[in-house]
Symmetry: C2
Subunit: 463 residues, 2 copies
């Protein structure tokens, strides 16, 4: 047996060759059926609109619908087809994918296509559109299998096979009672290995997890992640199954939630992408910057109080940026840790207190370490490079070192306490904490540093 | 039909009541079989070790194994059981979960348990442990269904049912050829709806995606996400199937990757959690802080050059923190956007150039806006609160405004270019960019600001 080395798949290139080869419809479909729709979508991205227009009739609406759910350019492609066919494609798509595509179309095309959708698709699309973007209902798909609770194993299997043609989320089969109320769920594997004489009821998990359609995504995403299921049912207020959230929806939601937190930590109001206009991006960045400008003016006026200190000992101003930067970074570290902890776990009062203490302990330990380093290195710098007396130099670097340590402890405290407080009063800590923490830490650092220099060097030692 | 309102499930409470009710083994198992293992794991978390110890014999090793894969405290619980039983539990777990649990045990217990594992489990566990943490092989599970390519539909279905008892990732069935080489995949749905007379070969996607066991997680995670599949096969260099990556593994990997990027943006070397010791957390935070301390000293010595400017016009030092903070924030915004774009897309030279131009455009637009605001408000402040002449006040605020604008444009440029450069030379831009960008931006802002004041107010106007 020859030993070969694993190659990266070149499916997209292979598909492009197939699409450009003038094969007949049958033969082409036969060949591309071996490929994944995601790869087909990637290949289509590399084709010209003219090439794609020749391809659409060969693929047919159902296949196009499947492929388009794997690309972000679906709206663009649909404008290459006539409106009736576009509506037929969207009717064939999973309802959540259909909604995604519709929302990328201009308002006019969207309305006209919705009017042309088949009844089922229109109902599903309107249902999903009726939920807010932050509600779980807006993420669900209506592609799932549901059976009545009074079937026997053979009937259930038959029903599964019948519905599997239309709905391909088959790994969990949902069960409703006589009143169409959600009753439970069956793991497909259990149904497959079941014997005909078994009772279907024994296969049903009646306490299978579910989620309410109006629940906030940010509030239930951790729970959904923990279940690690291929799908979780979404129920109406009356306990009817409206749709399901698939594992893939959860991947997307986790990605979005974390992306938002990441963006907020960086001082953006929302995540950005490459396709946005400059104006859209500006709008996401300006709010935080404006707030910071005004808070920065507050810091400036506090620095102004210490003008006299700088007038007497100008060299101290050199180290202001150092202390402020360090305080800012320590505060950001504590903020980031606290926000992640708040997102992942339910903290009781004792946990919170423990977290604050731990952050302060880390701030103190790191501050002590860096304070001593600053004391030594800055002292040497002021003495030998700037040419000052030894005692004077280490008096200055001592003030820098002590301020650095104090500022780091206080920044850790502030960086932990402020997000905890915001979380308590139900304000998103990731948004609100950033500017406030920067400002508070700047103020603390400035007051500590110049205050210390003033107290020691001017008031006590009269230098 | 009565209308009821959807309630949050109280499964964990119900389970606690069941566990504490002294039911017989049969009855208890019958009742809890309706619940999800994740809820059972949550209930166990709320029980005392004594309560749990009474529960284990009732559940049996196989059930315990299933439950423990849903909790992070699995290692702790295993120490409440004797070593032989613990080994039996781990033998029953999915291989990737087993590895997770083993890695949370102390080295001694780990070795002793690995020795006691059954042969299959030991082989799988050792295989997964043989991959680096950042390789996809370390995330895979060996729980999957595989059949030969020469079976007919009936044989394939029979084989599926036989293997489904052991392996529950059944939604994709993998196919190997005569040499046990990976040949393709069958969607379970297609097998279920297939008729006996059909040819199995028609159901097989021979160009189904795969991933190499040694591929870096960070490099293939976007690709895996795009396929949106319940499982993707992991192949050896020789093209044999070693395991699969499930949708849930992808959720976890996305969560981790983003968590790492988030942590790095905040100046942590890795993500932290509540359970770490102070020392562990210190180690994650100190590296960045030490680098920053030294880079900060560089900035300090540059500020030192402008001591004379401050000696002549002390009020200008008040606004140093403002300009540095703003430049820092703008740089972080650009950095965050660039890192996300680099993670999500493959950029060509033109895209990169476009991104830099766009960031500079945003920096200029925001800078112009904020510069004008700073000019007006700081001018008024210096004039009326600080009591300076009108022209002198607006000369100073003019310097602040212009420096702010220039600093913001340059910070955008730096915040975009540096991560792109690091990405190009294959250094993780999220780690390396932070401190460098802060420092470069500080330097630029300081030189622009004090340079401008010196040039205009001291050299030209001789104030």
């Amino acid at each position: 047996m020859q030993k070969e080395v694993l190659k990266e798949p070149t499916y997209v290139e292979e598909l492009l060759t197939l699409f450009r080869s003038n094969l007949g419809k049958e033969e082409l479909l036969e060949k591309i059926s071996d490929y994944h729709e995601s790869d087909i979508a990637d290949a289509m991205e590399q084709m010209t609109p003219e090439e794609r227009k020749k391809l659409y009739p060969l693929l047919g609406e159902e296949y196009i619908a499947e492929i388009l759910s794997y690309t972000e350019d679906a709206a663009e492609y649909l404008q290459e087809i006539n409106l009736e066919n576009a509506a037929r494609v969207i009717s064939e798509m999973d309802s959540d994918d259909a909604v995604d595509v519709l929302e990328n179309l201009d308002a006019d095309t969207k309305t006209r296509i919705v009017d042309l959708l088949d009844d089922d698709a229109e109902k599903d699309v309107k249902l999903i559109l009726s939920y807010e973007d932050d509600e779980i209902g807006s993420k669900m798909t209506t592609n799932f299998i549901v059976i009545g609770k009074n079937l026997n194993i053979r009937q259930a299997t038959h029903e599964l096979i019948r519905q599997a043609g239309e709905n391909d989320n088959i790994s969990t089969i949902y069960v409703v009672d006589e009143n169409e109320q959600y009753y439970g769920a069956i793991d497909l594997k259990d149904l497959i290995v079941a014997r005909d004489y078994q009772d279907l009821d024994n296969l049903i998990s009646t306490s299978y997890p579910y989620v309410g359609a109006h629940e906030k995504i940010s509030e239930c995403i951790e729970r959904l992640k923990d279940y690690a299921e291929d799908s979780i049912p979404v129920l109406s207020e009356e306990g009817k199954i409206l749709g399901v959230i698939t594992a893939y929806d959860i991947v997307e939601a986790v990605d979005e939630e974390m992306g938002e937190d990441y963006a907020k930590l960086a001082g953006l109001t929302a995540e950005e992408d490459l396709e946005e206009t400059t104006f859209q991006s500006m709008k996401k960045r300006l709010p935080w910057l404006i707030i910071l400008l005004f808070l920065g003016m507050v810091v400036s006026s506090v620095v102004g109080i210490f003008e006299t200190v700088v007038a007497v000992i100008p060299i101290v101003m050199c180290f202001q940026s150092l202390i402020l930067d360090m305080a800012g970074n320590v505060g950001t570290q504590s903020l980031a840790v606290t926000i992640r902890v708040l997102m992942d776990e339910n903290l009781n009062r004792k946990d919170k207190f423990g977290l604050i203490l731990k952050e302060m302990r880390i701030g103190f330990a790191n501050g002590l370490f860096l304070g001593i380093m600053a004391f030594v290195f800055i002292g040497l710098y002021v003495c030998f490079i700037k040419g000052n007396a030894l005692s004077y130099s280490f008096l200055i670097s001592g003030c820098v070192g002590v301020s650095l340590m104090l500022a780091m402890v206080i920044s850790s405290l502030v960086g932990t306490t402020i997000p905890l407080l915001f979380h308590k009063i139900k304000v998103d800590p990731a948004v609100a904490s950033g500017p406030l923490i920067t400002t508070v830490n700047d103020l603390v650092a400035v007051v500590t540093y110049y205050g210390l220099v003033w107290l020691f060097m001017i008031e006590l030692l009269k230098i």
